[in-house]
Symmetry: C2
DNA sequence: CGGAATCCCTCAAGATACTG
DNA sequence: CAGTATCTTGAGGGATTCCG
């Protein structure tokens, strides 16, 4: 039996932190795109339909701050910036896989009312 | 065309749907509490420090609409309402486990700047 | 090209008070 | 007890313009 108080809260807090990283609207699409390998800023922008500049910048900064992606700047003119998944970021694969696995079993087979 | 393939977009959409279910601030704590078994409304409220009535109701309704929990009403006075994880809800365990597993490897060891 | 700065809007989330 | 009903705040997200 799991301990029900302090350790319990800690576990929830950890998951909260994770969701702060991958819970954003564009986090998964970005990570998913970067699974293919290093991408430039504009490549990401083009690879992810619907995202806008500000959101991409914001998410990338958040991910960088959380050690998910690495940002590399090449001093060219015009500037070249590349984004790569870190080891920490790459290890999100089983998480996303499990998410997708659960989803393929249940979600989108039914209709969700989306009550407001 | 623009996308690599259509299954790619579908996959992302599915994960989006999942995060709509478990991405809420209180979703995981509630699910986690319900892993212990059926709980009454007030038991949930007491088991989850910091949550307020409105949020608990809202999350539970959302989860019920998504087939994660089942709501059972007993016609007593005062009313008795019980919440139980459905099979679909129970199968979130590997997902949460994988989330936690990733988190315990990386999160909370470093410090997150939480830049704005 | 890769952002930063601004403005704007919607909605998640919180605090309380009330009710069948 | 198990919720509604309101009001309020703030964060997340979007569109656009500007800059080195």
């Amino acid at each position: 039996m799991i301990q029900k108080n302090s350790a319990d809260c800690a576990e929830k807090c950890v998951i909260r932190e994770i969701l702060d990283v991958i819970g954003g609207k564009w986090s998964i699409p970005i990570i998913h795109t970067l699974f293919d390998g290093t991408k430039r800023f504009m490549e990401l922008e083009r690879s992810i339909p619907g995202i806008n500049t500000r959101m991409l910048v914001k998410e990338l900064k958040n991910m960088e701050a959380n050690g998910i992606v690495e940002r590399t700047v090449y001093p060219t003119v015009p500037p070249t910036v590349e984004y790569t998944l870190t080891e920490k970021g790459k290890q999100l694969e089983p998480v996303i896989h499990e998410l997708h696995n659960w989803g393929s079993k249940f979600v989108s087979k039914e209709k969700k009312p989306s009550l407001k």
